[in-house]
Point group: C2
Chain length 345, copies 2
């Protein structure tokens, strides 16, 4: 227990699992006194985005993330599409409609302009498809050898769609846990490429896509208590954050978790648990039981054919995620630890 504050930063500190939570707590949470504005959502929530009240009971929602994915081009997307999508999704799962982004691009001297061109076009296409404006940014170049190709940091600003913000801490016992599609495809794709496996010939590709439309329709139905996009640390991390922050238990039925065969195959080959692999186009939802079926049907009607109710929140097992395995056993699904996959997003 507790953080052994090692003398140097390790890859695990940035992997999005337990060590990341620990270093963020130690460096920021326990240190900064001003961590929210006028009762908005701030640093202590460690949620997908923060909020700032702007008067009249309204909030803007804001998020920032750096994208360091390697390789920068991959089946299903590239670092530009990923940055725009990830930013949009962090807002969408808070219940916000994204309206604007600012980007900060740092590239290595000698980076091909043709690549930059493709990447910026991906950002443009993604933002335009969601009616999101690019209102500002920064552009820096670092000398050759001081940064590997390109890092994009993107900041998104949205407005709440309903007047309620979807916090990870709002899962209620009895809620059904829904995932909007099959999991782990982004993580499996990147990890396979990093391992030198040719995935072009397979059907494996990143699931990278904006969740705005899906979230809006689901919010129209109502009953959604919490939402989260399971990126770094995958489904295992997202479920644990729901359970810990809401102080509920979450039972997950292993055989209900939608995982495509290619993801299972590559995970086995690469020795990783698909439940820890990042998704970049899926949402995890906690929905009141009376609305869960309607939400699921709506998702499927929108083309999310793999959407599934994978579990439920309970009063027992507070703060824990319990996996009911295919063989009928129970096991604790821990938050991921260790390196998982560096530069996954």
């Amino acid at each position: 227990m507790g953080l052994e504050f090692k003398s140097r930063v390790t890859l695990a500190h940035g992997a999005g699992g337990r060590e990341t939570s620990e270093i963020v707590r130690r460096l920021f949470l326990e240190r900064f006194r001003f961590t929210r504005v006028s009762g908005g959502v701030g640093l202590p929530e460690l949620d997908d985005a923060a909020s700032i009240p702007v008067g009249g009971g309204r909030h803007i929602v804001v998020t920032t993330d750096s994208y360091t994915v390697n390789p920068i081009f991959f089946p299903g997307g590239d670092i530009g599409k990923l940055a725009a999508t990830g930013t949009i999704n962090d807002l969408a799962v808070m219940g916000a409609i994204p309206v604007a982004v600012l980007d900060s691009i740092v590239v290595e001297e000698g980076f091909p302009l043709e690549h930059l061109d493709r990447i910026v076009n991906s950002i443009k296409d993604t933002l335009e498809s969601e009616n999101v404006a690019l209102i500002g940014g920064d552009f820096k170049v670092m000398p050759r050898g001081s940064i590997d190709k390109i890092v994009i940091t993107m900041t998104g600003i949205g407005i709440l769609y309903t007047n309620r913000i979807l916090l990870d801490s709002n899962v209620k016992p009895g809620d059904k846990i829904i995932v909007t599609g099959s999991i782990g495809e982004h993580g499996a794709t990147i990890l396979a490429l990093q391992s030198g496996i040719d995935v072009e010939s397979s059907s494996l590709r990143s699931d990278c896509q904006p969740l705005t439309r899906i979230m809006r329709r689901i919010l129209d139905i109502g009953g959604v208590h919490a939402a989260k996009d399971p990126t770094r640390g995958g489904l295992a991390m997202a479920l644990n954050e729901f359970a810990k922050k809401s102080n509920v238990g979450i039972i997950v039925w292993e055989d209900r978790i939608p995982i495509r065969d290619e993801v299972k195959m590559y995970s086995e080959m690469l020795g990783v648990d698909p439940l820890t692999l990042a998704c970049e186009g899926r949402a995890l939802l906690s929905v009141s039981p009376d609305k869960a079926c309607e939400v699921l049907e709506e998702l499927r009607s929108m083309g999310c054919s793999d959407a599934e109710i994978i579990g439920e929140a309970v009063d027992d097992y507070k703060g824990m995620v319990i996996l009911k395995t295919v063989s009928g056993g129970l096991r604790v699904l821990e938050e991921p630890m260790g390196e998982i996959v560096p530069r996954i997003c």
Copy 2:
């Protein structure tokens, strides 16, 4: 004229001078269709920050920048203080009071936690001194060799102090041009360190400091038409942006520009023009002539002993900056070109 779209990114593309303007125009301005929200300040202004109307005639102001400075510790500050200060200043010179930031830190595997500790403390101290909250962020680690030490991207959010946003395009003929302190100290410090010169024994240090209090007092006096912090590209770039965006001429009296002897000495030694060296704690102001003396006196009473009226905006020479040299001659002060200094901020 025009951008020769070379096949690879060069250091000059990121130096903050003419080539940066050109690549930003080509990659973003000419490409994106949605570049502002509801009539706010957006990408086309290429100003220090953008704005988003939030109802009731009010705007939030938002900015993002990546900090890649090398070395990461320097006399007068470090990359953490620089990031917090730079973010705060980009809001302050738009006429906004900073209220919140989000940071995204990308570090190299193996980076000493003790250094991270010092850097985060610098961010904390700077933000707390200005009553700015840290409301969120991101933390990523890149494998050894894929990033040099640390890059910090910081996003700042502020609210307008008066109801008016200070645009670079609002300089009026007749305005007096004021600089709030001696110039080039940040740039000279970093450049000297990069050149292997020991500056510790000299009095040279970065001028890195927040401008919030200064800007607030000056806005209380009134008459400020435009403000800008002369960072990358220095005073020469900032003056040119005023002149071009406002379509006025700006006459600057060389002998009035406050430059400390150490900066002159190091500039000469290093072969750079101090007018192109970054400041990180100075503002360039365009003030109506009836208020200029009052603003200058207020600045000096606040401890800005080197503050000076360095020139004036005129109807002639539209879009140009004209330097009246000490010898009495006139020369055009161009926007800087070429590499200037990489990783200066």
